[in-house]
Symmetry: C2
Subunit: 287 residues, 2 copies
């Protein structure tokens, strides 16, 4: 715990921290910002190795709220985490989404675990091709976590997962499971090496392949618990354009979610939640 109260909103240190909200600042510093009690708590609990500093709002002599104090106590268990007190003004200068607490994470430490994926035996992968919207990217990481996926893979040109809005939208899930970024060819090669079939979420399919309907896929999973129901990479396309024909052609299966009413489509986050969770529920009931 650093006893000195940070009260100069115009200091270099505060400016450098605020820079972490931008991609360029993160690249330059090799660090990223974690905002708000939920994200900081999950970062401290699951990836304290990747957290270097915590900044907590402190008004005069009064301590932080109980919620924040509990997070700080947990953080202080880790030798590598430094806790600093800062004025509200300083906190606001760094981020308007802090809700009283911020942490600084180390990109190298996060990435070290992320590349270990290639070596692990995890067998349920959620993959997203060219996901661009930070809110969507965060929400799908959270959905993949809830559905018990072993990892998330961002394929090709996706939004930076260390964008503060992505992190906020994951509600802590960024620290619960590895999230990798790889190119398209690398993705298919990696899944091939691990013997995981790539299943595409797609409404239209290709000229020669109609999509399988999700309820049929689930029925087969339940009927045959020894099938590949517990190991797959489920791949979702870009928010607006879906998956390219070229990518679809490389997928083992194409699965579509049926639309029962008059809605013409579901958005990416909704599709991912329904598909990932249904697949897990179907194979968990079977096993």
């Amino acid at each position: 715990m650093n006893a000195q109260l940070l009260d100069n909103a115009k200091s270099d240190r505060v400016r450098r921290l605020a820079d972490l909200t931008r991609a360029k600042g993160r690249r330059k510093a090799g660090r990223f910002l974690i905002e708000g009690p939920q994200s900081v708590r999950e970062a401290v609990r699951y990836r304290a190795d990747a957290v270097s500093d915590i900044y907590v709002a402190s008004d005069g002599q009064a301590g932080a709220s109980d919620v924040l104090e509990r997070i700080i106590q947990e953080a202080l268990q880790a030798d590598n985490v430094y806790v600093h007190r800062a004025t509200r003004e300083v906190m606001d200068h760094i981020s308007t989404d802090a809700q009283g607490i911020l942490a600084v994470g180390e990109l190298d430490a996060m990435r070290a675990v992320q590349t270990r994926l290639a070596l692990t035996q995890g067998s349920r992968i959620a993959a997203f091709w060219q996901v661009r919207d930070p809110g969507n990217a965060g929400t799908v990481i959270r959905a993949a976590d809830a559905a018990g996926c072993d990892a998330v893979v961002f394929v090709d040109d996706c939004v930076d997962m260390f964008n503060p809005k992505v992190i906020r939208s994951t509600a802590g899930s960024l620290f619960h499971l590895p999230v990798l970024t790889v190119g398209t060819d690398e993705f298919f090669a990696m899944m091939g090496e691990r013997g995981l079939g790539v299943w595409a979420a797609d409404v239209y399919g290709t000229e020669t392949r109609k999509p399988e309907s999700l309820p049929d896929v689930l029925a087969r999973l339940r009927a045959n618990p020894t099938s590949d129901g517990n190991s797959y990479a489920m791949l979702f396309g870009n928010e607006a354009r879906g998956l390219s024909a070229d990518v679809l052609a490389q997928c083992q299966r194409i699965i579509s979610i049926p639309l029962y009413g008059k809605a013409e489509s579901l958005n990416l986050a909704t599709s991912a939640a329904i598909l990932l969770m249904s697949l897990t529920m179907a194979s968990s009931v079977a096993s």
Copy 2:
């Protein structure tokens, strides 16, 4: 089609239209605003009876884009819809989310169909108690539509469904199925009269009742297609506080979505999509 080009962004008419983006303006005028090609197209296609005017951006002599022209042609089939051309400046003054096209809807016409619900035989209801966020409210209406629900009921103090952000988030679904607003007592009375069991989505349950896990509920639905799997009112709670103990006590069943990973919760829109779609898939496979 009105031949006159609206080009005075400071006219009373433009000011009154812009007022429809606010609750007070809608109440005063008895009308609401429908923004963007997708929403306007679905309004024209499914609820032309409730649409009075369409405003389309027109720059000089050039017509609107093909997409907009097709919507206009469809709108002109309805005797009651007037189409007006307006300058970009006028359109921007009314709404920055128009994407070239706006429609004005009549609250009375929308509500007339909405209250007919009590008389119809629809049997899959999606209900939301105290939903407050406009984006959430729109997304859950869209999910209920996709899952084939016969109606959506907003229970107690919810966001105004004619808020422009709600309408945009429904992606047209507001015009696909009836969406009602009722009080809590009225809701339970209405469902009781129609013989529909109210099922609560809730993680914790009450002191005396543990929630049933969704996969178990789905397995029973599939095993017994003659059960009540095709008729229910599925009730979701407020984004932050869930359902009150008082409301939970009045529900026939309490259902929770299992979390397989380390995620602590799912947000409202995600929970609703998973639950509504799984229930429909399970009972549709069975039937």
